[in-house]
Subunit: 105 residues, 2 copies
Amino acid sequence: MTQLAIAQIFKALGDPVRLQIVQRLSNGAALCLGELSKDLGISRQGARKQIQALVSAKVVQLHPAGREVKVQLDAATLAQSRVFITALEAQWDERLQALKQFTEQ
Amino acid sequence: MTQLAIAQIFKALGDPVRLQIVQRLSNGAALCLGELSKDLGISRQGARKQIQALVSAKVVQLHPAGREVKVQLDAATLAQSRVFITALEAQWDERLQALKQFTEQ
DNA sequence: CAAACATGCAACTAAATGGTTGCATGTTTT
DNA sequence: AAAACATGCAACCATTTAGTTGCATGTTTG
């Protein structure tokens, strides 16, 4: 996992509309582009662009099926972002621990 | 935690330069603005803007001390982003579980 | 006090982003 | 075949973003 790829994942999640899309996908059944575009307050093509951003970051995958395109969450990508943050937190905790030991001597 | 606040956190983390800054802070000792700006490939003021983005998203806090300003990671904010992703993953897993039960009947 | 240092503020530019509209194309349904 | 549906593509616009430079200000240090 390159630094850049991780940044792209966070960037993709760093927008209220895209975050809402991701949440809908984790909640409900597999949705197609059209359904997913509803009630976002923007046009279908606007929504499509946001979904494409999620595709580029591999947060989501597209599966064409007849005249529609199903959108599916990529759990592995979500996991990568979580692992990254967890690693940061671990380093941070380690540092605090070291600092504590130092001041206690 | 509003959707928007979470999006702002992810947005702040969604850039290679800012991600590197955050990693340096989790690694090493408390750094001031000047030290933190080195070796990022951009000017001091450029770096300062990126750090400000992290401050706005509360990923990082500033502590003026004499003529310098110390930069400190805000572990609580990191935790919030992790919790959000973990919740997404939980919903997703639940859904898969329900789907599995359905198909097994 | 003067020099060196750490930072702040403002103006500016280039590029990316978020959104729109209009129209074309392939796929079901009747 | 015709209508309705789901989508794609491209051009366009406004705003935000990432970065720059130049200069001003407060704080240590010698």
